[in-house]
Each structure stands twice: as C-alpha cells, then as structure tokens.
C-alpha cells in the first residue's frame, strides 16, 4: 500500500497546476479541485485502514539507496490527521464554491483561490507525511505561502494590516526553523527523523536540549502556544470565512502535530513535562479570558482556538500513552469543530450582515437552521456531554489524574475552568446574537451611543472607568463608538440587523451549497461522538506507536535500531 503515501501531496499539487491553467473556466476549476480533494479523502481513509492493519507505510522517493533520499512515512497518527484534514478541506472547498457562485467575487477572486487552496492542502498533507525535518520545513513553507495569499485575498486595508503581522511572524518562525535545522545538521549530520532518533541520544545532554528547545519554539509559534500566540487572534478574523475556517482547523494543528512528533520520536527521554504543562495552563487561561472579553463572535472564536490548543499541549506534556491518546482525540475533535464554527459564522455574516454582537439579534427566529448549526458545535466546543468535546476532555483529564503530580491536578482544574468559561463565552454570543430580538439589539446600541440615562425597558446606563453598564451587562467604551457608527450610518455599511431587515437589505435565503457543507461538518462532528469508542481505540494504538519508536525506526530504516 506504500504507493498510496505520496498521492495526498501529488494530487493536490497537480490539481493546483491544472486549476491555474483552467483559470478562465471556473466550472472546470471547481470540478477539478472538488474531485482532487474527494480522491484525497478516499486515499486518506485507505491509509488509515492500511496503517492500522499493517503498521507504518514508508516510501523513499526516487528509489535512492535507503538513507539518502527523502522519505514519506504514514503511521497511524499521520494517517488519522490526513483523513481529518482532508475531510475538512473538502467541506471548506464546497462551502467556498457555494459562496463564490452567489457574489463576493471581488473579495475572493476565483482564479487564484482554487490553486492556492490546493497548494495549502498539499502542504498540510506533506507536513503530516514528512519523514525528515527539511521536508517538514518545505511543507510548512508551502502551506504558509498559500496562507499568505489566502489571508490577503483582495488586498483590502484590514487584510493587509492583519496580513503584515501574520507574514512577518511566520517568516521569523521559518528563519528560526532553518537555524534549528542548521544546528541539528551540524550536530548529527542528518535530518532524517528516523536517523536522528538514534543519533540525538549520543549527543551531550546540553546540546540536545538546545536543539529540542529550538524546535519546540519554532513549532510553538505555528501552534500558537501561549507566549507565542498573540499573532493568531489578530490575523484570523479578517480573512474570508472559508479561509479562516481552514486556517483555524488545520494550520495550528500542523504545529501541534510537529511538536508531538519531535517530542516522541527525537527526544523521548526528556519530555519537558513541567515546561509544557505550564505553557498549556497559561495558553488555556489567557486564551479563554481573551475570548470572554470579545464583542465580535469571530474574534471570540479565534481566542477560544488559542485557548483550546492548551488542551492538546497538556496531552503532549504528560508524555504518557493516556495523555497522547487524549491529545490525538482532541486534535481530531477540535479540527472539525473549530472549522465548522467558522463556517457557520460565514453564514451568520451573510444572513445577518455582521458578526458583531452589537449588531446581531434574533437570528434564531430569522434563520432557525442557522441557529441549530451554531448551537450544536458551540455546545460541543464547550464540552457539553455526551458530545466529542466532552469525551476528549474526559480522556485528557483521565491522563492528567493518572500522572497525579500537583501540576497535573492544577491542569485538570484549569481545564475545567476553561471549559466553563468557553460555555460562558459561547452562551453569551448565543443569547445576544440568536436569542434576543433585533429590536432589543437596536435599543442596546441606542442606549450605548447616548450618555447616562434609561436604556431599554427601564434599565440604567452608567459609564464608569471605561465601561458602559447597561442594566446588568457591561461592555467596553470602545463599543460605544461602534454603536454610534451604527446609528449614524446611512449608507448601509455599518447598520445593525434591525435596520438592515427593516429595509429589506439582506438575502433571506442562504446558498444551499454553503448550508450543505456546513451541515455536513456538523454531522461529522456528531458522528465523531457516535464512533468515539473506535476512534479513541485508534488514538490509543497511535499513542502506543508514538511511545514505541523502535518500530518506527525499524520500518523506515530496515536493519537499524535507535
């Protein structure tokens, strides 16, 4: 089955070239990219089956003598990540096709969208399959380059501003990655992961610690682990909805995967548990506190994305089979759920004209389907039983309690708190955007824009120390400027949902493809709950593979032991 291994990289790349040639035939472009990504889903599913039955699949590209060429390796973890990412990219592609057919061409020029998206998919697949560090670097560059283009699509000023920071941060992390590669090569004379597994053990501990920290820092920037996470909530929300969805689902998880791979394969003797657990704790708490403070659903979700990366780092930091199992399951859950939520937000933006909580209201009555599509994944994200978010958190908590150190218990407590605050954040957005009426939202904006006095239904409005208190809720003073913009605006660019619906400016039907793709992903996340047993079993076997690196090395390099 090893001939299947390079196809998830080759097919999207060939598709990218083909769609570029077909740039004047949007119909054919759509057909090519959809069929390519469908094929990748099928191949990834086959690989999941094959790796589970026969063990890791290895392909040395170009049939060079064994340690010389570039190796692609699919083990259980890689295959699972491939499958999930392929399903998500396919759904996002269908969604963006639906979006493109009904306007928005000025913001997402179709001619470059498809090739770039396919290059991104190829880069993500290559990162999961890479068998040596330099190939990992190249795949990072592939997916990052595609992401630069997708993030700045259309070149509007908000996207250029956010894109600048994103590009510079990622270029810096790429340089750091190259420096670590030079250091690793100078120290060991190889960049192949399987060869490194043996050679790094022979180095003095101080040297290998430096190498480990260099690689960890590089990947932590990509994965948005706490002190290196500030670029993410700033850059993601400005991109078009499908782009944000695929970034949120996949790009950070590639970083998490790289951390997992290097920690287990290269440095199994030094898990750096304390460092990683502390980083996980801070990532969870700082991220979720940022999410609670937001008044825009897109920004709120970007902060929860950072916060929930903490759960995966927790699992990696524990460095036990139970911890890795939890982390793997959580990655799978989080890829589907976070992408789904951003896709739903794209629908909200289309139906309600905005994702700002000041402008939205009454969406549950206006578009009941949209309400269901938001409610189910939002509750799943918060970890309401019996959904997959709950199961993932149970698995991680179980792993942490088995380790049983005070820090691990602190992480359990922080995980619970984060989960509760996530529930608070999504429930707040649900109440404001879906539950109250648009009139109430408009009254709120009116009350905010004025000074002290009576708000809606006799509530009191007080301005105090940079916060406006309306009745029992309080918002930052900056939102007052936005409320004023809503009321002063006559041109329809800054109006809230109440004004827009009263003027009939909004489409009252959502494109069927977009809703279909989003519902498909919601169903996938629910299916993940139903088949959680087998998936957790698979994750457990993948975690055992990770802790048993002899098998990996002996499959990749027959005749060598670490």
């Amino acid at each position: 089955m090893s001939w299947l291994v390079p196809l998830p990289v080759l097919l999207p790349l060939a598709g990218a070239g083909l769609t570029l040639v077909l740039s004047r035939r949007p119909g054919l472009q759509r057909a090519v990219s959809t069929s390519v990504l469908t094929a990748v889903v099928v191949i990834a599913a086959t690989l999941v089956y094959a790796t589970d039955r026969d063990g890791p699949q290895v392909l040395w590209i170009g049939a060079w003598k064994v340690p010389l060429g570039i190796s692609l390796v699919a083990d259980r973890l890689s295959a699972l990540m491939l499958l999930v990412s392929a399903v998500v990219t396919l759904a996002v592609l269908l969604y963006s096709v639906g979006q493109g057919m009904t306007g928005d061409e000025s913001e997402t020029p179709l001619t470059i969208y498809h090739p770039t998206f396919l290059v991104l998919a190829a880069g993500v697949s290559n990162a999961f399959l890479a068998g040596d560090l330099f190939n990992l670097f190249v795949s990072f560059e592939m997916l990052l380059f595609a992401s630069y283009v997708l993030l700045t699509l259309g070149g509007t000023s908000a996207r250029i501003r956010a894109g600048t920071i994103y590009v510079i941060v990622n270029l810096l992390s790429s340089s750091l990655f190259l420096i670590s590669l030079a250091a690793v090569y100078a120290a060991t004379g190889s960049l192949n992961l399987a060869q490194l597994a043996g050679r790094l053990d022979d180095l003095p501990p101080s040297v290998s610690l430096v190498l480990q920290l260099l690689l960890l820092t590089t990947f932590a920037i990509k994965a948005a682990v706490f002190p290196l996470s500030f670029w993410l909530p700033d850059s993601y929300p400005t991109a078009p909805a499908p782009v944000t969805a695929v970034f949120a689902g996949l790009l950070t998880k590639v970083g998490v995967y790289a951390i997992m791979r290097t920690q287990t394969l290269l440095f199994p003797d030094r898990p750096l548990t304390d460092l990683l657990l502390a980083a996980a704790l801070l990532t969870m708490l700082v991220g979720i506190l940022g999410a609670v403070a937001q008044t825009d659903i897109k920004r709120m979700l970007s902060f929860t994305l950072v916060s929930h990366i903490g759960y995966m780092v927790l699992g990696i930091g524990l460095a036990t089979v139970a911890g890795f199992t939890g982390a793997i399951f959580y990655v799978v859950h989080h890829i589907t759920i976070q992408s789904t939520l951003f896709l739903v937000l794209g629908l909200v933006e289309r139906r309600g004209g905005s994702t700002s909580l000041l402008k939205l209201g009454g969406l549950a009555r206006l578009a009941p389907v949209l309400g269901v599509l938001y409610f189910v994944p939002a509750m799943n994200l918060a970890g309401i039983p019996p959904m997959s978010g709950f199961l993932g958190k149970v698995a991680l908590t179980d792993g942490a309690i088995r380790v049983g150190t005070p820090l691990a218990y602190a992480l359990v407590a922080a995980g619970m708190l984060t989960s509760l605050l996530t529930l608070y954040a999504v429930a707040k957005s649900w109440n404001l955007a879906f539950w109250r009426t648009p009139e109430q939202a408009h009254e709120m904006a009116r009350a905010l824009s004025g000074l002290d006095g009576d708000g809606p239904a006799g509530t009191e409005v007080v301005v105090h120390r940079d916060h406006v208190h309306v009745g029992t809720s309080s918002v930052g003073i900056g939102e007052r400027d936005e409320a004023r913009r809503i009321l002063d605006d006559d041109e329809g660019t800054d109006q809230d949902l109440h004004q827009l619906t009263s003027q009939g400016l909004l489409p009252n039907r959502l494109p069927r493809t977009m809703v279909g793709a989003t519902s498909g992903l919601v169903l996938c996340s629910l299916a993940l709950t139903v088949v959680a047993g087998p998936v957790l079993g698979y994750a457990d076997r993948a975690a055992r593979d990770l802790t048993d690196r002899e098998t990996y090395v002996s499959v990749v390099l027959p005749g060598e032991t670490p």
Partner: protein, 148 residues
C-alpha cells in the same frame, strides 16, 4: 568537528542586524531585516557543512576531498523560498503604501484598546461616575473600513 569562526561571526552579525531591522515600524526595513537574516542563516548552513572541500561532482574530484553537498542543496532551497517571500512582502508593502500612504506595520486591535485604556487612566484619575466627558475627547484612529 572544527568550525570556522569567521563564518560564525559573519552569520551572527547578519542575524543580529536582521533582528534589529525586524523591530522597526516600516515594512521596507523589516523586509531588509528579513533578507539579512535569511542570508545569515544560509551562512550558518555553511558552518554546519563542515570544512570546505572541492566541488561535490562525482567523477571530477576524489570523494574524500569533496565538501558536503547536502547543506548546499538545503541552502539553495532556502534561497528560493526567501526570494519568493521577499517578493510577496514587497508587494504587500506597496499595497499598504497605496492604501494608507505609508508602509508602517500597524498595531493590532487589542494593542489599540490597551493603549486607549492607558491614556484614559492618565486623563482621569478620579472615579468619575457621572459622565463620560473625559473619554469623549479622543477617538480611535480609523483603521478599519474594509467593508463597502
């Protein structure tokens, strides 16, 4: 392995200057910083490849005298990638200049909020519950306006 000190010094000087420029506001200087830094990193790969030798071409030189070809291949890849990124950042700087008249890297939304909070604390020391008059004196710079 004996390392070439001159190469290490050159690499560290270039990376140091690159990082200094990276901390500037103007995107053009940031770009120059990135280019310097990536060249510094490429020099690091020369250090990693060990002592210099003859060209690694099979048949022309004795394999024992050849220098290690792999880092050279890696550097070539890195050069290609940094060329492409430079082009992209330049295009972005030009677009930023088209849109705003300058190419400064702008603060993100949270930074602006925090800066505003700091400013209000300076302006109003008292726990003023009566009105928001003090806060009305300044406005956020308009940096959004992507819609419409």
């Amino acid at each position: 392995m004996s390392a070439n000190v001159a190469l290490i010094l050159a690499a560290s000087a270039m990376i140091g200057c690159g990082i200094y420029l990276l901390l500037e506001r103007s995107l053009t200087r940031v770009l120059v910083g990135l280019v310097m830094m990536s060249n510094g990193v490429n020099v690091l790969f020369l250090v990693a490849s060990g002592p210099a030798g003859r060209a690694p071409i099979v048949g022309r030189n004795d394999p024992s005298e050849m220098s290690d070809p792999l880092p050279q291949a890696l550097v070539l890849t890195a050069i290609v990638i940094s060329l492409a990124t430079s082009a992209f950042v330049l295009a972005m700087a030009y677009r930023s200049w088209q849109l705003t008249g300058h190419d400064d890297v702008q603060d993100d939304v949270e930074d602006r909020t925090i800066r505003r909070l700091a400013e209000t604390d300076q302006a109003s020391d008292s726990f003023d519950l009566s009105s928001g008059a003090a806060e009305e004196d300044f406005e956020l710079p308009e940096e959004e306006g992507s819609r419409g």
